[in-house]
Amino acid sequence: MQIKFEQFATASMLGSEDAPPRSNGELLFQNAWEGRAFGIAVALAKKGHYEWEDFRQELIASIAQWEASHCKDDPTWNYYQRWLLALERIAIATALLDEQELETRTSEILKQEKAEKFNSQLC
């Protein structure tokens, strides 16, 4: 099995036709939520809620945590899921958010989306 960056090397870097869409020559975000996670982390640092270095340390820790429990070529690797975890942790550590309210809001959103999906299937 090819690992991710090898796929990139063979498919995209060599300029094949089916290379993914790019912005500024690089694929920016595969999914919209990744862009939001990125933008929020940078915006909070910019506003002085934490030092960028502190975010970076959280990111290093969350990546290291994944790597300690997975093979390096595990296909479930998702960089922005590690980024999101780092963001949650720093937001909670700096008291911008409470863990419980984040849990509650997440389940509300998932419940709502499930209901919307169900409703749209009825139509």
Partner: protein
């Protein structure tokens, strides 16, 4: 696969929850977040690095300054300023020559010179790449389609919060008399990471 879809849906809901709470608390506005993303899409990207490389190829004095004091050389280019404290405050350019080939990596996470290269491609963040680039750089480069002769030394630069490295690639043959703009157009982000060489396109209109 369905696990993956579920994880994606969960992550999307989680970030939506996080953002909505921060907005309600007045900590961040969605406009601020939009602006950050837009800034990275429009102002920070490999097109900045390409201009630096093209200028260095044409102007030996600029090139010397770039290699000796990268930050001050870049400051004179009038690029948009970096985002408060984020990556790119301490950048250092390293030159590829027939004797030395440089490759950049961030072994711990994904530090990258944002102002000149934009955001890193996903292979740069891949755990396998990050580990193997240090252990067997020649082999990794070969998989990228780049055969580095034994006579050329390979240096791997581990980018960090202290220093974000980027590569000044070699100017390809067949570009004599080209303008700065023409040269900048052929400089790829991969070449500034050391994962490729700059090639002259075969078809020039």
């Amino acid at each position: 696969m369905s696990d993956n879809i579920e994880r994606e849906a969960y992550s999307a809901a989680r970030i939506k929850a996080l953002e909505s709470l921060l907005i309600e608390k007045g900590i961040v506005s969605s406009t601020t977040v939009d602006e950050v993303i837009e800034f990275f899409e429009k102002d920070m990207g490999p097109f900045n690095g390409a201009k630096i490389v093209a200028k260095a190829w044409l102007d030996p004095e600029f090139k010397q300054r770039l290699l000796e004091d990268t930050t001050s050389a870049i400051a004179q280019m009038n690029f948009p300023r970096g985002i408060a404290g984020a990556e790119g405050e301490h950048m250092k350019a390293v030159e590829n020559t027939p004797e030395v080939h440089n490759l950049i990596v961030c072994t711990l996470c994904s530090c990258y010179p944002w102002p000149v290269l934009g955001l890193p491609p996903y292979w740069f963040k891949d755990p396998t790449f990050r580990a193997r680039a240090v252990r067997e750089p020649r082999k990794v480069l070969k998989e990228f389609g780049l055969n580095i002769p034994e006579s050329t030394e390979v240096y791997v630069w581990d980018t960090s919060a202290q220093t974000c490295w980027f590569v000044l690639p070699e100017r390809p043959a067949g570009t004599d008399g080209w303008t700065e703009e023409q040269l900048a157009a052929i400089v790829t982000p991969e070449s500034m990471q050391g994962a490729a060489k700059v090639e002259v396109p075969t078809k020039i209109s």
